[in-house]
Symmetry: C2
Amino acid sequence: MTVDASIPPQATIRQVAADAGVSKTSVSRYFGGERERLSVGMQQRIQASAERLGYRPNQMARGLKGGHSRLIGMVMADIRNPFSIDVMHGAEQACREHGLSLVVCNTDNDPAQEREHLALLTSYRVEGLIINAAGHPSRELSALADRGTPLVLLDRTLSDYDADVVALDNRQAIDAALNHLQTQGYRHLLYVSEPPSQASSRQTRLERFHQQLETHQLSGTTVTLDLIDETQRLDNAIDDFLADATHSDSPKAILCGNGNITLAVARTLVRHGVELGNVGLMGIDELPWAELVGPGITTLAQPTDLIGRAAIDTLLQRREDKDGTLPSRHILYHGRLNARGSTQRHER
Amino acid sequence: MTVDASIPPQATIRQVAADAGVSKTSVSRYFGGERERLSVGMQQRIQASAERLGYRPNQMARGLKGGHSRLIGMVMADIRNPFSIDVMHGAEQACREHGLSLVVCNTDNDPAQEREHLALLTSYRVEGLIINAAGHPSRELSALADRGTPLVLLDRTLSDYDADVVALDNRQAIDAALNHLQTQGYRHLLYVSEPPSQASSRQTRLERFHQQLETHQLSGTTVTLDLIDETQRLDNAIDDFLADATHSDSPKAILCGNGNITLAVARTLVRHGVELGNVGLMGIDELPWAELVGPGITTLAQPTDLIGRAAIDTLLQRREDKDGTLPSRHILYHGRLNARGSTQRHER
DNA sequence: CTGAAAGCGCTTACAG
DNA sequence: CTGAAAGCGCTTACAG
């Protein structure tokens, strides 16, 4: 059995130092962002040796010493939601532009998993954390903030924790939706939402819907349900809504609280053979397939890319704010209306 | 300015050891999976102290010493592909069941980003790596394998690197698609694919399509294109295909190489007012909205959840194989046909 | 069953 | 501008 000269196990700082004939300290400075404090000659020798040996700083060791991990953590409540995917993509691009890497964790809306992932990211010394909270992880977040990690809440605020927030302007979104539906001649609405208890954004949208109905001379009702095990209830709710004799002469429309709901509702309507438009359908969150269903589904698109980027930018600005004087901010984006056939009435 | 007693900065092993009146070594053993080698009394004291102090092992330090990071890396070529999302979700669930965490990185099909991410994951001492390769990162993979990290290729094989593979049985998938289209009465096909150079699965499907046309008494042609900047070419290709007089009396169908293609083709067809079914449409990859478009789009569903789980299982089995005797395996899953209206002809 | 000690690869005062 | 040394929080032979 021959022992071949195997691939050298990843070069360390000590090997680079020896090869370049300098101290480990200098090599560390070269890669730690203090390059300019080194003489030109030294810079060149280090650069050459590092290149030849294929040196890459070991992030584990860096993190241990409290250095820069170059990692941003992102904890998402539902990675299968198209909104989440697109925001992640925007955040990732922004990270790359800043030489950072994004570590994404999915909690499946489970507070226990959320705590797990936060502990993990903490132990990896992430330099910033974006959280689309599912539970109430204020303890964990405080711990992170105390060690100086910038935090930003995405889409969902936390009642017991104050931090920068990047999200859709939910009130404006609801107003825009109501305005559109009113303009299109609908008079009686059903608002369908996932359970609001876990997510402030769902709550805000629901409340605003109730508050603003009168202003828009609309009547309406709401139903909240868990998409995983309450599809039957959705069917019933829609049946009841469409059959409701009290508003039999009012043009009716269904407003969906997010993209997942829009999918579920569209399925039900299509299955029931409802003609979209005569019964209005509109959803918050743009969907790649929105234009393909029937006459097209009207949506209120969130600027997901911007939101993802803004989350990173906010993190970075917060990091600059060494003395912690910056007050916490809420960065709210307006949605964009994509009017399609599903909110275009045919009948007189 | 008062200095409040602030939250204690994450307890360390030394504090737990002191608190429990034992050595750091014992605490390390307790959390390092050698619990049973400790006396019951010691176990209890460590457990109690750790709980009270809220101790959690620092993963950075663990990783540094070559211990278990409890991390699995997952490098995906296109996180926005529904296939990727679902596989990730399956893999994540399997991870959780084994007390592992999944770190997902997206390369956007860019080999440079892929190398970056591999270097990152390497430096984090992941205990296993799942890669849906975009480039030819055999160097990086070899380095990883040399230090004993189990590897599995997802969906795409690599010509210059041998490892376990978990994927769809692409040949069976194409055969099943051709068989279905033939049965439904279509005679002339257009196969649309993303560029095959970067992905073995695309290549395999394309080749099989060409090979098996005759067997199924079909004629057909293919077009490959980049979805990002060649949508115009897609339009033209479809126009040409539909207008093709040579096969004017052959019922025609379009077969889409993956979910992204299905979306793009469906858009074009809908925009052109084509009635699905008369022109057949079928896609590899199930899509949540497939049943909503026109009469429903026929798909060949990949068992994404199974694939994700199998990737993790394979990693774990490989890890058990200390002496490296296990030959590399290809685990190929059959797709499942979801026949819908888009492959149901109306005309005689 | 238990522990003292060395060391993983870095960073960071401190000193010159 | 440069470096020697201490130390980050762990794990792992080694010894008992």
